[in-house]
């Protein structure tokens, strides 16, 4: 167990930033702290680093309680969102800083800097100053500088926030490769769920200072612990239906709700891939007009409007879309294959349910 947080809370004055958070990170793991801004994820990262002190609880790094250990002695590498490169120092001096401070021998420093320059593809830039570098180069210098003193943990605060979209994608892939090569325990903070899903071994999801769920990307996507996670990770249709006569109904759409009291309100969520769409109007139970198609690449997102004005989002492949000859403005039929009741009395989410409607012969591939 590389890092362990036990009952960690943090208050800034009266404001509670983090509430009783518990989680641990294994050796060599790459963990993403995900959540909307103000969720407390950066505060958690800074507490691990020692840049903030927890109001309550204990932090352990490699079994050692580090609450009273100063930032300098925690042996962590921290990469700031702004990179925080030393403006008055060259690339080489930036990377060497931690080693100089730790009084490494000159020859060792030179060797380590040369090694990192090589590893990070910064050859030829040693004498440049931070303002003479591109965003991607700056970030690599920042990570190289943090890794130079061989920290036991690498902490990154919004590592891809400050670069443009194209480089961001490349840097994500690079971070995974780097982590694979160096195998150093890494925790990074992000507000971008796609980024967290793509990069992390496990994701810790925060909202309003609370830990909502911890799990592999697949787990949090397929088995969200609560409505917040379900809505935050991936796209979800959420409908608020009213129960009447054993059926929860919103406009045209009905869900079975046996055992529920009449008049109860249920929040029902389903992912776009669970919505099956067909150009054959008699095939599926509901009808809608295809209002807008978003081209996301290989996948398309469809926005459909029911006669009552209700909007449902679906997802299908480009091939399927072309095969069915769909286009904006066309009438389609659809069905909801899987859904969840989001808001129920129990704290945890109800399991995913299959629609009770008779399954027509499947058409094409379902996403």
């Amino acid at each position: 167990m590389s890092i362990e947080l036990k009952n960690i809370s943090k208050k800034f004055g009266e404001v509670a930033a983090v509430n009783n958070v518990n989680f641990s990170v294994n050796d060599g793991e790459l963990v993403g702290l995900l959540g909307p801004s103000g969720g407390g994820k950066t505060t958690v990262l800074r507490m691990i680093a020692g840049l903030e002190l927890p109001t309550e609880g204990d932090i352990f790094i490699r079994g050692e309680r580090v609450n009273d250990l100063s930032v300098q002695k925690r042996n962590i590498g921290f990469v700031f969102q702004s990179y925080a490169l030393f403006k008055s120092m060259s690339v080489a001096k930036n990377i060497a800083f931690g080693l100089t401070i730790k009084k490494w021998k000159k020859a060792d420093i030179e060797a380590r800097v040369a090694e990192l320059i090589q590893l990070f593809g910064l050859s030829g830039l040693e004498k440049r100053f931070p303002h003479q570098l591109s965003g991607g180069q700056r970030q690599r210098v920042a990570i190289a500088r943090a890794l130079a003193p061989k920290p036991s943990v690498l902490l990154l605060d919004e590592p891809f926030g400050a670069v443009d979209a194209k480089i961001r994608q490349e840097l994500r892939e690079w971070l995974v490769t780097l982590h694979h090569e160096l195998n150093v325990t890494t925790i990074f903070v992000t507000h971008d769920q796609e980024e967290a899903m793509e990069v992390s071994n496990r994701i810790v999801i925060f909202s309003k200072g609370n830990l909502e769920q911890i799990g592999t990307p697949r787990e949090v996507y397929e088995q969200p612990a609560n409505e917040f996670v379900a809505r935050f990770v991936g796209v979800m249709n959420v409908l608020e239906a009213t129960v009447g006569g054993g059926v929860a109904r919103i406009n045209e759409i009905e869900f079975p709700a046996t055992g529920q009291e009449d008049g109860a309100r249920l929040r029902i969520g389903f992912r776009p891939y669970a919505v099956q769409v067909s150009n054959d109007l008699s095939l599926l139970p509901y009808r809608a007009v295809l209002r807008h198609t978003f081209f996301l690449g290989i996948l398309l997102r469809l926005e459909m409007e029911l006669p009552s004005g209700l909007i449902i989002r679906s997802r299908m492949t480009k091939e399927d879309y072309a095969q069915q000859g769909l286009e904006d403005g066309r009438e389609v039929s659809f069905q909801i294959k899987n859904y969840r009741v989001l808001a129920s009395d129990s704290a945890t989410l109800a399991p995913e349910l299959e629609s009770k409607y008779q399954q027509p012969p499947t058409m094409g591939e379902n996403i």
């Binding site: 930032v71 300098q72 921290f78 700031f80 030393f86 593809g121 100053f129 591109s134 490349e170």
Partner: protein, 311 residues
């Protein structure tokens, strides 16, 4: 077709450029007004100072400067600067650091207090010290009993000058430190640096230019201060008379050439200071230009990513 598009594009651009620029009439009128104003009110008097200083020949000029009282005034002025500038650097750094990097109660009050010497008349500042430390002042008797002399003494002059030059360094540093934030310092901490190492290797280099600039301004003002010093010093020739005070008393005694001789020396000090400031600005500008023109090679990115993808 392509040709037409290009033409339209170029035409649009020329137009927009013209839209952003003033007509040459406005431009030259503004430049002329500024130049004429500077010549009449700044350059002409400055030239006149030197002309008047030498109006009665080298001999008079030389005597005016080598006179023991003049020499004493020069030494005193330099002594005051030697005391004030380091005090200001220490205070300025501490105040700017506190204001830029911490949140605390009374921060607004501290900022206002730093500006006080700018907004208060130097004469009033001098009088405040007389009221505090003069013989009839609050601490006057105590000071006399313990044989401390502040009013009509060198210590009073230094005190008054420190008060007057209080804001220079701090005012230069606060915006720079606020803009820099604390990220670099925090990064240094995570890399194992202690407070002193962080200050020496990270904070100080990042405010270098602002600090030098503040020191120059502070020095210029410390040597040139008249009002506050006049009130607390008693203006005793050969003892508590600084250069600006000497200029004034010579002028009052109808020794115009001698007054201008000392004045020319003060003006010269000011010009040297300005020249140094200009040189620093030029250097800073050049550093910036170099940085701008440096080819930002993306080669690092591509080779790296290629490598990353290959694995």
């Amino acid at each position: 077709m392509a040709g037409i598009t290009k033409k339209q594009f170029t035409a649009g651009r020329t137009k927009s450029q013209r839209g952003a620029e003033e007509s040459s009439l406005v431009k030259w009128t503004l430049i002329s007004v500024a130049m004429i104003f500077c010549s009449v009110f700044l350059l002409l008097p400055l030239v006149n100072v030197f002309a008047q200083a030498f109006s009665k020949g080298w001999g008079v000029y030389w005597n005016a400067l080598t006179n023991p009282d003049a020499w004493s005034a020069i030494k005193l002025t330099l002594l005051v600067a030697v005391f004030c500038v380091p005090l200001n650097v220490v205070f300025g750094l501490a105040a700017a650091w506190a204001i830029a990097k911490f949140e605390f109660r009374g921060k607004a009050l501290l900022i206002t207090l730093i500006d006080l010497p700018f907004s208060i008349s130097p004469i009033v500042a001098g009088l405040m010290f007389v009221v505090l430390f003069g013989l009839q002042g609050y601490f006057g008797e105590w000071l006399r009993d313990h044989d401390f002399k502040i009013i009509f003494a060198v210590s009073g002059i230094i005190l008054a000058t420190v008060f007057i030059t209080f804001p220079f360094v701090a005012r230069e540093l606060i915006p720079i430190m606020q803009a820099t934030g604390t990220d670099q310092e925090q990064a240094a901490l995570t890399l194992g640096a202690n407070g002193w190492q962080t200050f020496w290797h990270v904070t100080l280099p990042s405010v270098k230019w602002g600090l030098i600039y503040g020191v120059i301004l502070c020095n210029a003002r410390a040597m040139g201060e008249y009002g506050a010093v006049r009130v607390v010093s008693g203006n005793i020739a050969g003892k508590t008379q600084t250069m600006p005070l000497r200029v004034e008393s010579l002028n009052d005694g109808f020794q115009g050439a001698a007054a201008f001789a000392v004045a020319s020396l003060l003006a010269l000090l000011a010009l040297v200071t300005l020249a140094f400031k200009t040189y620093l600005e030029w250097r800073q500008h050049r550093e910036f230009e170099l940085a701008q023109h440096a080819v930002i090679s993306e080669s690092g990115d591509t080779t790296f990513i290629a490598k990353g993808k290959g694995e």
